[in-house]
């Protein structure tokens, strides 16, 4: 019969006394929670143990005796054996250690020979549960002035910090303030005028508005009145708070850089020439396309039409930019102020501004893609007509079909026309798709970094670095003493989580931005001419 005893490390050096703890039923195990020192009165000990049992709901009892004989304390052995008669137990543990040796000697006195059942896997869980629920036992200390003095794993002091205590005191009025502000903000957002369809659609597309709503959600979680229900909730709240603080700190850093040395005026002065430069480059590109680009065979008439159409758009755009140029500095100044809400906010504002500034590229891409898509669709349908087949919509397959003479005639003419105009359209489509992809890539990088700042669990990582025992994955045992004749002495240590598991488990769920299609699907969409919106935004998960 193997007896497992869980013994707190602090009690290794405790004075001799009685062991108080709990037998875990069904296993041959005991958890020692505290050592009550001499001198004591047995009646008081029994009373105290019963009190604590009632308060904590855990079945505590006196397990046995612990002896660490110091100088001048001989004759303990007989005293200890007599103790077993005072406390009627089924089993009585006697653990004994000599100063200078690491090994324990352990004896068990069994009153009756009851059979023990098999051990099962929940031993460690029950052990930890016992320790966690026996809170009231740890309020008493050996430095107390009461009739009983005990040593337990919290006797060397509990971990606390003044800052945390101060924050806890200050958090209550702060939470009230934040929830009041949030209610005003929600009331403003729910005004009817903002629920009109165009505004609503626009606000779902602009990433700034999405970020705003996201941060509002977070604030609401943080400032809720009831405390965190479980470990996950607590970690999530803590992560949100720390991320938010880091975000605001980075934003403040950005502001301090922007508003110093007149950087804003510099930015505004480079913006309009940059837009002009982009437009000029596009102009040159179109002129090149209207010629014979790369020696490809373009249909001259269609080429001219398309090129002139896009050139006209560019001129419109340039005049619009020039119209806006006096206001740009003001816009930048006020926009930069928004970084005080966080770096993520500034980044999403930047992404929106890039989207607005490259709106003409988006328009060109849509025109080119639609034209190309129409052409591909027409060509595929007419190719079926060429072979004398037809698409059966009901059966979703290609069937043979007997066409009339005029259908065949007109179909063939159109097929020829579309086929010979294909290279021209395809080239324009290719050029504008590439431009659009560059812009989308840039926006994607911005969104990914915003997402990263939002979802990275800084608090959990910090906790893992500085207090690794709070995030445990399991326990590991190390052999301390394996001498024959003494009990096997193992040291149990908490096995902390790996960093990757920490990040994965405690990530804040965000409206994470990840590619919607696999590479194959994306290429196929590009080939056919479907409009691509490669980044998908998940809706915020509500729990």
């Amino acid at each position: 019969m193997v007896l497992k005893i869980f013994f707190p490390q602090c009690c290794n050096r405790a004075d001799s006394g009685l062991l108080v703890g709990r037998w875990i039923s069904g296993h041959d195990s005991a958890v020692v929670l505290a050592v009550i020192h001499y001198p004591f009165i047995p009646g008081q000990v029994k009373q105290y143990v019963q009190q604590v049992s009632a308060k904590s709901g855990v079945e505590l009892s006196v397990l046995g005796s612990w002896s660490l004989p110091k100088e001048g304390q001989e004759g303990m052995e007989s005293f200890l054996r007599d103790l077993s008669t005072i406390f009627p137990q089924q089993r009585w543990l006697q653990i004994h250690r000599e100063i200078g040796k690491t090994g324990f000697t352990c004896e068990v006195l069994n009153r009756d020979q009851s059979k023990t059942t098999f051990a099962n896997m929940l031993l460690l869980v029950q052990m930890f549960q016992t320790v966690a629920t026996s809170q009231p036992l740890f309020f008493m200390d050996r430095y107390d002035d009461g009739p009983l003095k005990s040593t337990h794993w919290q006797s060397e002091g509990r971990e606390a910090s003044i800052i945390v205590e101060l924050l806890k005191q200050a958090s209550v009025p702060l939470c009230l303030l934040i929830s009041w502000l949030l209610s005003i903000w929600t009331w403003i957002c729910n005004i009817r005028i903002f629920s009109l369809y165009p505004l609503r659609w626009l606000s779902s597309k602009l990433s700034t508005c999405v970020q705003l709503s996201y941060k509002t959600e977070h604030m609401r979680t943080l400032s809720s009145a009831k405390p965190a229900a479980g470990h996950t909730q607590f970690m999530r709240k803590a992560n949100i708070l720390v991320s938010f603080l880091v975000d605001v700190a980075l934003g403040m850093l950005l502001i301090s850089w922007l508003y110093r040395d007149n950087h804003i005026a510099m930015l505004a002065n480079t913006l309009v020439p940059a837009a002009d430069h982009v437009a000029k480059e596009l102009d040159e590109l179109l002129q090149w396309l209207m010629g014979a680009p790369a020696g490809l065979k373009m249909n001259r008439a269609l080429d001219q039409v398309l090129g002139r159409f896009f050139l006209y758009h560019i001129h419109l755009w340039i005049s619009y930019i020039h119209l806006m140029s006096p206001f740009i500095e003001g816009i930048l100044w006020y926009g930069g102020l928004s970084a005080c809400l966080g770096l993520t906010f500034a980044l999403s504002l930047l992404s929106d501004m890039v989207a607005l500034l490259t709106f003409h590229i988006y328009c060109f891409y849509v025109y080119g893609a639609r034209l190309y898509c129409l052409k591909i669709y027409g060509l595929s349908s007419l190719w079926r007509l060429f072979r004398g087949k037809k698409w059966n919509v009901l059966r979703q397959r290609v069937d043979s079909c007997s066409y009339d003479l005029d259908q065949l005639f007109i179909g063939t003419l159109l097929f020829t026309v579309l086929l010979f105009l294909l290279p021209t359209t395809a080239l324009y489509y290719l050029v504008f798709t590439l431009l659009r992809l560059v812009v989308v890539l840039f926006q994607g990088v911005l969104h990914l970094s915003v997402d990263f700042i939002n979802s990275f669990p800084l608090f959990a990582v910090g906790l893992r670095i500085f207090r690794p025992y709070r995030l445990a994955e399991g326990v590991k045992f190390r052999v301390l003493c394996e001498e024959p004749g003494t009990a096997l002495h193992l040291l149990m240590e908490i096995n902390p989580l790996k960093f990757s598991t920490v990040v994965q488990m405690y990530r804040t769920p965000t409206y994470s931005c990840y590619p919607k299609d696999s590479w194959a699907a994306l290429v196929k969409k590009l080939f056919v001419g479907e409009l691509i919106y490669p980044w998908r935004h998940k809706t915020i998960k509500t729990e």
Partner: protein, 300 residues
């Protein structure tokens, strides 16, 4: 039941019962026993047709005729390209031919189906209007289609398309236009027509192509049904016309065409008839069952 002594393959006298070709009964023969009635149900060359040479030549004349049609079309194109034929004259001729052909077509049809004549005439007029307006409207676009494509590519594409037209032409019933053949011919004519100097040339060429590839087979179908002897004469006439027309432009082409016609109409039927005696089809009870729907059961 009489008892027959059956000899097995090893010349030993077999048992008294005859062997039956059944699987569900245990018989006193070994599994690989072969009866003397082996392969009794084999039938050789069952549905074979006996071809007669001149009949096949007459049918093959139709193929030659189509080949000559294509040659005539190419001749007209060559004339237009060299400026020897003006588009107005071609248009006028095509119009006249179309009217004549339409009249002939109606004359041959009215023997069988009469009634609703006005409706079909209107429908035909509508089709004709659609053709002409569409072609006229598209001819400037069609003219510039192959501007940037090199001449060799255009010739190669047209040749391939015309070959496809000849191969996939529905020789059995040319009245219902085969999609692939008509489309290939029209594609080739668009490619060739876009090489001509003006938009009117393109329009004239396309109208001519429509006439030759879309309307002419309908007329031929009617002729074949109603006046077979005249049909044969017409085929011969078209062949001669094709060779002659091509000869006026390039003698080498004419020689090639004549050779092709000769081999298609005279040589290939000879080969077909001669090779018939090497035919060896076997049919037997191992063939897949074919269901011949006989609905006469339901009519009684």
């Amino acid at each position: 039941m009489s008892v027959v002594r059956v000899m097995g393959p090893d010349s030993a006298p077999g048992p008294a019962v005859p062997w039956r070709k059944v699987l569900w009964e245990r018989q006193p023969f070994p599994d690989n026993y072969v009866d003397q009635r082996f392969l009794e149900e084999l039938r050789r060359n069952e549905g074979i047709r006996q071809y007669r040479y001149w009949a096949v030549v007459k049918e093959a004349g139709f193929v030659g005729q189509q080949l000559s049609c294509v040659a005539i079309f190419i001749t007209l194109w060559l004339y237009m390209e060299q400026g020897l034929l003006s588009p107005e004259r071609l248009l006028l001729t095509s119009l006249v031919c179309a009217l004549l052909g339409y009249g002939l077509h109606q004359a041959l049809t009215s023997q069988m189906e009469s009634g609703c004549e006005l409706r079909t005439r209107l429908a035909d007029l509508q089709s004709a209007t659609i053709f002409l307006s569409f072609t006229f409207g598209f001819s400037p676009v069609l003219k510039t289609l192959t501007e940037s494509v090199s001449t060799d590519t255009v010739y190669a594409m047209s040749a391939v398309m015309l070959l496809a037209h000849l191969v996939s032409f529905p020789y059995a019933h040319p009245s219902t236009p085969g999609s692939l053949s008509l489309n290939a011919a029209l594609f080739a004519s668009v490619c060739l027509a876009s090489r001509l100097p003006g938009a009117l040339h393109t329009f004239a060429m396309l109208s001519c192509a429509l006439l030759v590839f879309a309307m002419w087979p309908c007329l031929l179908q009617r002729l074949r049904e109603n006046a077979p002897s005249q049909f044969t004469g017409l085929c011969v006439g078209v062949c001669i016309g094709g060779v002659g027309g091509l000869g006026s432009q390039s003698p080498g082409g004419a020689v090639l065409l004549a050779l092709a016609l000769g081999s298609v109409t005279l040589l290939c039927p000879l080969l077909l008839v001669m090779l018939q005696r090497h035919k060896d089809n076997i049919q037997g009870p191992w063939d897949e069952a074919e269901i011949h729907e006989d609905i006469s059961h339901f009519l009684h």
